[in-house]
Amino acid sequence: MKRESGITQELFEALLMWLDPDREVAGRKYEVIRVGLIRIFISKGFSDAEDLADQVINRVASRLPDIKSNYVGEPVNYFRGVARNIIHEAQRRKEIAMEVFPKNLNRVTTTTDEYDCLLKCLKLLPSEKHELVLDFYLYDKRDKISHHKRLAQEMGITESNLRVRVHRIRDSLEKCVLRCVEELAMKQIRDPKALVGDD
């Protein structure tokens, strides 16, 4: 469980307690809230969603001693309220002004990087997962539906379960690719010649 670094262990424990007296259940709730908050902030266009989610948790934890006794309702409502406030306090930071520095501030990575990384990450997967994730995305439109049905039948699971299973593989792949691309970008910074990409 990732704890927001700005709060004390004591506040954090109090927060968990507020979520549920059973620490295990509280831990799960906490994770769901944190992931949910990140999803909300990303959906609202924030690129520092994790920081903002932690800010929400931080604020809630800090105010908990004052509100806990009088608060009525589900804690998530309070989390959401704080998240909304933070969204309203939105920063004026725009995406880096490409209009001003058009060509020269392009991102360091290229689509080739992602692809190269993906190939590396795919190799790290067990072969059945490797095959499954690629097979799953083989078709478009109507072909896709029948294809998924057939795949699910072959595996003896429901289509819905197949969808979730593939999503999880994809999720882990995506994380692996993101890490790999970041490493490549750092390498490119260290070697300025690598900045000359085909963008």
Binding site: I40, E89, A90, R92, N104, Y137, L138, D140, R163, L178
Partner: protein, 1205 residues
């Protein structure tokens, strides 16, 4: 586990696309925070959405929302990149199953369930079945290399139909598809899919020029031009000597040009065509027998209206291939070109007959079509022909026949009156109806004189032509023929323009325009307005020239006079070319060529378009393309039989050869130009052309290093231009001679020449009045000041003089606005500023004298190969030089900015290293000269305008520049003194009044992606509290009220969004609360305080303006004028100090810094610059790491002058 139903998925999808109402949003968000399965489902739907986008299956409405809303966060864009990679991997994976093909087919025979496991297998089976080919044949194919196989598929897919006009290498002939989007496609999609998969796999396994070329070829054939260009450009980089790759890239660029043309982006289209021609020419240089390239060049030249050259290419093609089906298409193209020429050659006869036929059956529509197309420069040839016949018949007593001619004339005149409300022909006919035998002979004589004059004019014998026109005009006037007298006078005006007797010409056309308007002679008015534009061009009054041309163009379009439209376009081509607006000029040029294609006008009418298009391409660096156009120009000149045009054409051809470093051809053409010029019989035209040819020869000899001969030619050009009083070219000749003197090391002559050239160049400030035109013109011409600065500094060892040269090039328009004001004009599509007069900057001695004791100037000059740094104090002028090219410096600055603006979390070492390196270049050389007790005014140059000086780090002490010095930015030393002076005048004691605005309720409908700014609201409240004032927040922050209060307040603090408009910085603005609906380009109360509105304001009371928003300091930077952004109009309005930002800022940190700034300023009594510095140092020393980053605190800078407050 809670079941997720379809409805949930639909809601999530809508949530992700920002399409849910708030109530439903809340429900989704609460579920996200409570239910892990729902949260996971969210991720799945998110991925599905992205996959649909990547696969191109997202509906159009959702696609837009996806791009504008969904993709806002970086994480989403990362996901998109991942999904794109996944898609590619999946495709490769699918094609990788090729290896199991054979067993699969066997499985089919055994009736196994898992038959078609991939698209590839399905496709292969279809093909085999369809072609009736057995397994053996398939295996034979399978042994081929992947690329060959894909090529075979591609050929087969496009066997019946091709989608693009040019030829693609290695593809066979197929007829061009004539329907787009509709009709039955004859392209085999299955084969294409298989080919693409194979080519992607090839690229993955063997990335190289061949793989990129093959994929580029595939996309090109399928008219996916963007993708094709991307792959073909990579292929060219990797294998620059492949004629085939270059030919295909040329074909792709040609298709891109056609697409831009279809979107009415004529200028952009011209640039793509030029790029295409460059590639195809290279292909043919590498392999002159490459049929695809030859074919494509012919097509391209047809599109570029280089008709003769297209014909030559077609013929060459037939020499190499006369029997293929491609050759049949070539013949068809040649036939079409021939038909077009034939159509043009009997145009006049055809139109006369058309009118006659229409008259006989009284078909007015048909008659008007013939009449409207028969207007040429010497009049309407149908009307002229009828008048000639009438006079001929009536003078020979054939009255009945003459009456028929008169009836036809009346018919024509009435139609003209009805169609375009032009009375000219009607008045003319009515005049002739009233004539008697006494008049006819004189009128016939006058008309003969007109014809004679026209002949003289066509031979550039303008003096003789003017005499004949004058005699004709007198005879017409004697007989009371007002119409023809006016027409003759218009020709006298043209002759005066060419002689040149410009003032005389000006007065004739001004009179003509007035009379034409009064009498309802629209065609004549359009002619006069066009001529006025031409006259103003000769006087280098480009603003007026553009204005007259635009008015004439509008009128010419209204009266459906295509030839006159062409002439107006010519003016617009030329003036935009002169102003350095090449794409715009090309747009007008090609528009004219496309129009002329249907008109088949006289060669001398289209000659200027080719000539100016050539010069535009030349200036844009497409020299070989310029050469093609100039060759066409010469052909037209020869066809026109006008020595003037021939001379001009040779001269410009010489110029182009010079740039191509083909000096033999350059000298040859320059000499031919001079020779042709001697044949011009009109004296003034002759002198003009001799001067022009001499000028070109001067340039060529200077480039070859024969400087003495160059000077001799420049002397000749200058002598003639002085006699002709042609300022435009005189400047160019002096500049050329200056460079020759510098090359020779004749410093005394160079010094003298420099003064003359600069004086001439400075005259343009008086002639170019619009801010936008000035900015582009002086940006392009800045190098004369750089040459002067370098010469004085390096050769003459005179840093004071060098400083003065650099200073007179800086921010002159802003100085003009401060000293002489200007008016905001909104006639065009974008608002602009019209300058009223030109100010005179102070000399260095004056600057030193007026420099406040507490200030020191640190001024930069970025030259081609060096950087000069000046430190100016009241009693000293010191300077240092850094040997660094402008390109190298630009690169370092950009890299530093990139590092500064990177997302937090990365190591800051690269950023700090870059800051140290720039400090070493920009500050270290003069560090000992900087007085720590004084306020430094930094005057940046060129790209240095974007630099946050405060964040530079001393390599010796490790301290930021901000930690040691306090400074302000200014656009020039003169502007600094002007602002300092304003500050002195406004430095009165007593309480300051404040206008504090924050988080205005701006129009979310207009700016849906921008959030409210609560922290800007609290910032405004806190700032107001410091001054015991009331803030304007939310809906109270109305634009009209704010504008009123701005004129009264001492201090203005505006905390809001700033929205940059890419069309023009005049349209960029700060968002405020909307007051009422308003119309017009400059909406006064629409809730956007645009720069154009601020330019109109005066702020007599205002000492300080704080623009607490994103990127308010600089939007664009011009060489010469410097930074242009919303801070600039406040300086113009008389505000001595403006605080603005260089890049988008963090709202919370900004709020914190701004509150501290005002507190330091007001409560601790620090002056503005010192207070800002303290506030920034506070952030730098903040315990929160993110606040310590320069991206957070270094964005805000003080701009203006030295102020005690």
């Amino acid at each position: 586990m809670i079941a997720i139903v379809q409805e949930d998925q639909d809601k999530l999808r809508k949530y992700l696309l920002g399409q849910l109402i708030e109530e439903h949003e809340e429900k989704v968000e609460l579920r996200l925070l409570t239910n892990a399965d729902y949260s996971e489902e969210f991720g799945i739907v998110e991925n599905e959405l992205i996959d649909q986008y990547v696969g191109g299956t997202l509906p159009a409405a959702e696609r837009e929302q996806f791009e504008q809303y969904f993709l806002k966060a970086t994480e989403r864009r990362d996901k998109l990149a991942f999904a794109t990679a996944m898609s590619k991997a999946t495709q490769v994976h699918a094609s990788g199953k090729r290896g199991v093909m054979h067993p699969a087919l066997i499985e089919r025979h055994h009736g196994e369930r898992r038959f078609f496991t991939s698209v590839y297998l399905k496709a292969a089976a279809i093909i085999i079945t369809a072609l009736g080919v057995g397994l053996g044949a398939w295996l034979l194919i399978a042994r081929r290399s992947g690329e060959e196989q894909a090529l075979a598929d591609l050929r087969a897919a496009y066997k019946k139909q091709r989608l693009i006009e040019p030829r693609v290498t290695k593809l066979d002939y197929a007829p061009l598809a004539t329907t787009r989007g509709q009709g039955e496609s004859e392209v085999d999609e299955t084969l294409l899919r298989r080919a693409e998969l194979q080519l992607l796999k090839n690229l993955d396994e063997h990335p190289g020029s061949n793989a990129h070329h093959a994929l580029g070829r595939f996309y090109l054939a399928g008219r996916q031009v963007d993708k094709a260009i991307k792959h073909l450009e990579i292929a060219v980089k990797q294998d620059p000597d492949s004629a085939q790759i270059r030919s295909d890239l040329g074909a792709a660029l040609l298709e891109m040009g056609k697409a831009e043309l279809a979107a009415q982006e004529v200028g952009k289209s011209a640039e793509y065509f030029a790029k295409s021609l460059v590639e195809i020419n290279k292909a043919l240089e590498l392999n002159e027998s490459l049929l695809e390239a030859l074919y494509n060049r012919a097509i391209l030249r047809q599109h570029m209206i280089l008709t003769q050259q297209a014909e030559d290419d077609w013929r060459k093609y037939l020499e190499k291939d006369s029997s293929s089906r491609w050759a049949d298409e070539v013949r068809l193209n040649l036939q079409r070109l021939e038909e077009q020429r034939q159509k043009g050659s009997h145009n006049k006869e055809y139109l006369n007959q058309e009118f006659l036929n229409a008259y006989q059956i009284k078909d007015e529509g048909r008659a008007w079509r013939a009449l409207s197309r028969s207007r040429i420069r010497t009049g309407n040839f149908i009307v002229e022909g009828l008048l000639d016949s009438y006079l001929e018949l009536v003078t020979h007593g054939r009255n009945a026949e003459a009456e028929i001619q008169l009836q036809m004339l009346l018919y024509a005149a009435e139609i003209e009156k009805r169609e375009i409300e032009d009375r000219f022909t009607l008045d003319l006919v009515q005049f002739y109806r009233g004539t008697t035998a006494n008049d006819w002979q004189v009128l016939a004589q006058a008309r003969s004189l007109m014809k004679l004059a026209n002949e003289h004019y066509n031979k550039s014998e303008f003096e003789q032509a003017a005499n004949a026109y004058t005699q004709a005009a007198s005879l017409f006037e004697i007989k009371g023929d007002v119409c023809e007298a006016l027409f003759a006078k218009s020709w006298i005006g043209y002759c005066n323009l060419r002689i040149p007797n410009t003032q005389q010409s000006l007065s004739i056309f001004e009179h003509l325009s007035r009379v034409s308007k009064a009498k309802g002679y629209k065609s004549l008015d359009a002619r006069a307005l066009h001529a006025l534009s031409d006259t103003q061009t000769s006087l280098s009054q480009f603003s007026k020239a553009v204005d007259y041309a635009a008015r004439s163009l509008k009128l010419s379009e209204e009266i459906q006079d295509d030839e006159q439209v062409l002439r107006c376009l010519q003016q617009l081509v030329y003036t935009n070319l002169e102003l350095g607006k090449h794409q715009k000029s090309l747009g007008f040029g090609f528009r004219a060529l496309y129009l002329s294609r249907d008109l088949s006008p006289a060669p001398n009418l289209v000659w200027p378009f080719y000539s100016d298009i050539a010069l535009n391409f030349y200036n844009l660096g497409f020299t070989t393309v310029a050469l093609d156009f100039q060759k066409e120009t010469l052909r037209l000149a020869i066809e026109s039989k006008m020595p003037l045009l021939r001379s001009r054409s040779y001269a410009r051809l010489g110029l182009i050869y010079e740039k191509l470093q083909n000096y033999d051809e350059a000298i040859k053409n320059g000499s031919l130009a001079l020779e042709e010029a001697q044949h011009i019989t009109g004296e003034h035209s002759r002198l003009n052309s001799v001067a022009n040819s001499s000028l070109q020869l001067g340039h060529v000899y200077r480039q070859t290093g024969d400087l003495n001969r160059a000077i001799a030619y420049y002397n000749q050009a200058i002598q003639h231009y002085e006699r002709l009083n042609f300022h435009n070219y005189l400047y160019e000749a002096h500049k050329g001679r200056l460079l020759a003197f510098i090359g020779l090391g004749d410093d005394a002559a160079a010094t003298e020449e420099l003064d003359v050239a600069l004086k001439l160049f400075e005259q343009y400030r008086l002639a170019i009045l619009e801010e936008s035109n000035r900015n582009s013109f002086f940006d392009a011409g800045q190098n004369i000041y750089d040459i002067a600065t370098d010469f004085a500094y390096t050769r003459m060892g005179d840093p004071r003089k060098a400083f003065e040269y650099t200073e007179i090039s800086r921010a002159r328009s802003l100085l003009d606005l401060i000293q002489a004001d200007g008016s905001v004009i909104t006639e065009e599509s974008e608002p602009d500023i019209k300058h009223n007069s030109v100010s005179h900057p102070l000399t260095l001695s004056d600057i030193q004298q007026q420099l406040p004791d507490q200030a020191q100037i640190l001024q930069y000059s970025v030259l081609d190969n060096k950087l000069i740094i000046w430190v100016i104090s009241k009693d000293k002028v010191e300077s240092k030089v850094q040997e660094i090219s402008d390109d190298e410096l630009d690169r370092k600055i950009l890299e530093y900015l990139r590092l500064i603006l990177k997302d937090p979390g990365n190591s800051r070492a690269p950023e700090k290293n870059a800051a140290r390196e720039l400090y070493a270049i920009l500050i270290s050389p003069v560090e000992v000269l900087l007085d720590g007790q004084k306020q430094i005014c930094i005057i940046p140059d060129k790209f240095l305008n974007y630099l946050p000086y405060s964040a530079l780090i001393s390599p010796t002490t490790g301290k930021y520049f901000l930690e040691v010095h306090q400074f302000i930015l200014s656009a020039s030393s003169n502007i600094f003194l002007s602002c300092s002076d304003a500050a002195r005048r406004k430095a009165v004691n007593g309480a300051e009044t404040l206008l504090s605005v924050g988080n205005p309720s701006f129009d979310h409908g207009q700016f849906p992606t921008l959030p409210d700014l609560p922290s800007a609201g609290s910032e405004a409240v806190e700032v107001a509290a410091v001054y015991n004032s009331m803030p304007l927040i939310g809906s109270a922050a109305k634009e009209k009220l704010i504008k009123e209060e701005m004129e009264e307040a001492n201090v203005i603090h505006l905390a809001s969004h700033y929205v940059v408009d890419n069309r023009s910085p005049m349209l960029s603005g700060l968002l405020l609360a909307k007051e009422a609906s308003d119309s017009g380009l400059l909406r006064e109360a629409d809730g956007v305080l645009q720069a154009a509105e601020v330019y109109k304001m005066r702020m007599p009371q205002t000492r300080l303006v704080v623009l607490s928003a994103c990127q308010t300091g600089i939007e664009r930077s011009y060489r010469g004028e410097g930074a242009v952004g919303i801070a600039r109009p406040f300086i113009k309005a008389g505000v001595p100090v403006v605080i603005a930002s260089l890049w988008p800022v963090d709202s919370d940190a900004t709020a914190e810094m701004m509150i501290r700034f005002h507190r330091y300023r007001k409560q601790e009594g620090l002056a503005t610059v010192a207070a800002l510095r303290r506030a920034q140092l506070d952030l730098l020393g903040n315990s929160e790491i993110r606040h310590q980053r320069p991206s957070v605190w270094a964005s805000f800078v003080a701009i203006g002058g030295l102020a005690e407050f």
